[in-house]
């Protein structure tokens, strides 16, 4: 009590009354989440406006005689003629380690009922992307735990890899699997007290989704122990277009805190198609000129300035990284539509998911042919590069030869072997959701496939044999997996051990 009294007395002693000058405005009209304000002549773009009673807005349209502001929440309490004030501040969001494990809205307010977030650190929601000089090439892998991606479309820390496909093709599952795998690696490094492993903290941004879908994702992350390494930023379909517009920027600001402090972070934007729609709605209500498909003229800039904030910083600038996995939903597989082509041209590669493959049972339904990672094998450990190097080519040859096999034509032995090998690789690439493989187990599987281990296994039994093989190695030769994980390459000793293990397994089965 005495300390509180002392604080009050100190504040009073330091207080000097002085004239307070501020700029005000008057609300001329309000509707659809946008308020038109007269006055505020010196307000800056994206400056926060105080409507009173805890209601805030963002100045987005600076016109000759008025200001167009989007109201972030509580628009129903604003009335015509109301006086508003400029705050002199840009929009900021709380950030820091205290955000991990929490579900928040784009303003940083908690939604999970776990109480206030204890952090004093804040980052601006809109910020310029890091410059060219401060960056370095992407070289460290971001292991998704999905064998098809880590082998053929590897993602590096600091890369932007787009996940694109029709509805219900498994886009969110890929992102959630990646987050779960990062959490698994973080946990293992904590237990082993391994300072060589750099943990990756994840930010999942849900934009315009159903609340039930978001709840399901949060539940899965919690069940898999991934939530405490993740921040979930939510702006559902029930939230205003302004909140849906801000959500990805807020998520990026949270991820940037980790990057600025020399750590690695991953941001998933699920999904940017709905983000573009929310921005279109906001721009039309602000009466900005519309262009193609009624999107505003700066729709490309909206996503380019967001995704350019992901980077791999040089050691001189802290060495932190921010990796992005933006998600885009296409309609009937049309990747040549406006928003998909925009985001494809911005990102460093795309993972294209096809409905046909999904319904054929190939899950993840990734189209190897048109999926690409522009970083490529620079983001793979040596061991994976060695075993996966030829896989893409083999699969391409398999898809080509598969067409001939359908016509029942006579094929030579080499072609038959190629087709059979391709079928088994395709089976190996199928994976149950929310069950990521560690990279060392992926290397073992692919090495076994390259050595012809699965050649005598019926195609439909390939996955079953894969599971048994991995379980066998986990039980009998865990040290081998550890060696591969630590050395990150297949030394002659490791290869010899792998041959021995395969021989042992085959002799027992």
């Amino acid at each position: 009590m005495q300390s509180i009294v002392a604080d009050i007395e100190q504040t009073l002693a330091q207080f000097h009354p002085e004239a307070h000058s501020e700029e005000t405005g008057k609300v001329m009209e309000v509707g659809d989440g946008v308020a038109r304000i007269e006055g505020l002549r010196n307000i800056r773009l994206n400056e926060m406006i105080d409507f009173g009673n805890g209601v805030t807005g963002l100045a987005l349209n600076l016109e000759e005689n008025s200001v167009g502001a989007v109201v972030l929440s509580g628009a129903e309490t604003i009335h015509e003629g109301q006086t508003v004030r400029s705050t002199g501040r840009l929009l900021e969001i709380p950030c820091g380690r205290a955000m991990l494990g929490r579900v928040v809205d784009p303003l940083g307010r908690p939604l999970d009922g776990k109480g206030p977030i204890d952090t004093k650190e804040k980052n601006p929601v809109e910020r310029a992307a890091p410059g060219i000089i401060g960056r370095q090439s992407v070289s460290a892998p971001l292991q998704t735990g999905i064998i098809a991606i880590d082998a053929v479309i590897p993602i590096g820390r600091g890369q932007r890899e787009l996940i694109i496909g029709d509805r219900s093709t498994g886009k969110t599952v890929i992102a959630v699997d990646t987050i779960i795998n990062q959490a698994r690696l973080n946990r293992e490094a904590e237990i082993a007290v391994d300072t060589n492993v750099r943990p990756v903290f994840s930010v999942y941004v849900a934009i315009g989704q159903r609340q039930s879908s978001v709840a399901q994702v949060v539940r899965v992350l919690e069940e898999r122990g991934a939530l405490k390494h993740t921040v979930v930023v939510v702006a559902t379909a029930a939230d205003s277009a302004a909140m849906q517009y801000l959500a990805p920027f807020s998520g990026t600001a949270i991820g940037e805190w980790f990057m600025d402090h020399g750590m690695d972070a991953l941001v998933v934007y699920d999904d940017l198609s709905k983000h573009a729609v929310a921005y279109r709605q906001m721009s039309l209500v602000l009466r900005r000129p519309s262009g193609r498909e009624a999107y505003p003229g700066d729709i490309f800039y909206l996503h380019s300035r967001l995704l350019e904030r992901s980077a791999c910083m040089s050691k001189a600038c802290g060495g932190g990284t921010l990796t992005s996995l933006p998600i885009i939903e296409t309609q009937t597989g049309d990747v040549s539509a406006y928003i998909p082509t925009n985001v494809i041209s911005i990102t460093d590669g795309q993972i294209y998911l096809e409905s046909d493959l999904f319904y054929q049972g190939i899950r993840p339904a990734m189209s190897i042919g048109i999926s690409v990672s522009r970083v490529g094998s620079a983001a793979q450990i040596k061991a994976m590069k060695e075993v996966a190097g030829k896989v893409k080519l083999e699969l391409a040859q398999y898809y080509e030869m598969k067409e001939f096999a359908q016509f029942g034509s006579d094929l030579d032995a080499k072609t038959v072997a190629l087709i059979e090998h391709g079928k088994r690789i395709t089976e190996l690439f199928k994976q149950v959701q929310y069950n990521p493989f560690p990279v060392e187990e992926q290397v073992v599987q692919l090495w076994a496939a390259q050595q012809g281990f699965f050649n005598n296994t019926p195609v439909e039994k390939t996955r079953e044999v894969r599971v048994k093989l991995i379980e066998f190695i986990r039980m009998r030769r865990k040290d081998l997996l550890k060696d591969i994980a630590q050395q990150k390459q297949l030394t002659p000793e490791i290869k010899k051990s792998l041959e021995e293990v395969m021989a042992e397994y085959q002799s027992l089965t």
């Binding site: 009073l12 004239a19 307070h20 501020e22 005000t24 007269e38 006055g39 002549r41």
Partner: protein
């Protein structure tokens, strides 16, 4: 009434023609309005309405209001008027009003620029400081 881009453009040009150093002149305004009305040109009414909107915005932006806790004496009002009203052209006017909730001091509003020297505002600032805002 619908205003086209041309109407707004013409109204802007009209506004520029009646202003001296950015401040509209009352005599020029009267003359310009009479000329436009007499011309009976196409869209004259729309141009005049756009022009009137600009004038209203200017008046609102330059109107001076003084709020005090208690009624100011005539001498006080006169001295404040001399201080604030410098120009002889369009006088946006100065108004004096009473609001007991300010407790003491003055709040001067020039358009949307507010200089607040009231006790109520000082107490608000002190409250925010104590709450750590």
């Amino acid at each position: 009434m619908k205003f086209t881009r041309q109407h707004r453009r013409n109204a802007r040009l009209l506004w520029q023609s009646v202003s001296i150093n950015g401040i509209p002149d009352a005599t020029r305004i009267r003359e310009a309005v009479r000329t436009v009305r007499e011309s009976e040109g196409r869209g004259a009414e729309a141009v005049l309405r756009c022009f009137m909107q600009r004038l209203e915005v200017y008046i609102r932006a330059n109107r001076i209001g003084v709020i005090s806790a208690d009624r100011l004496s005539s001498l006080q009002q006169e001295r404040l008027s001399e201080l604030f009203l410098e120009t002889e052209s369009v006088k946006a006017g100065i108004s004096f009003s009473v609001d007991p909730s300010v407790i003491g001091g003055l709040r001067v509003e020039k358009g949307y620029q507010v200089t607040d020297m009231t006790i109520a505002r000082q107490l608000e600032i002190l409250r925010d400081k104590l709450l750590g805002k």
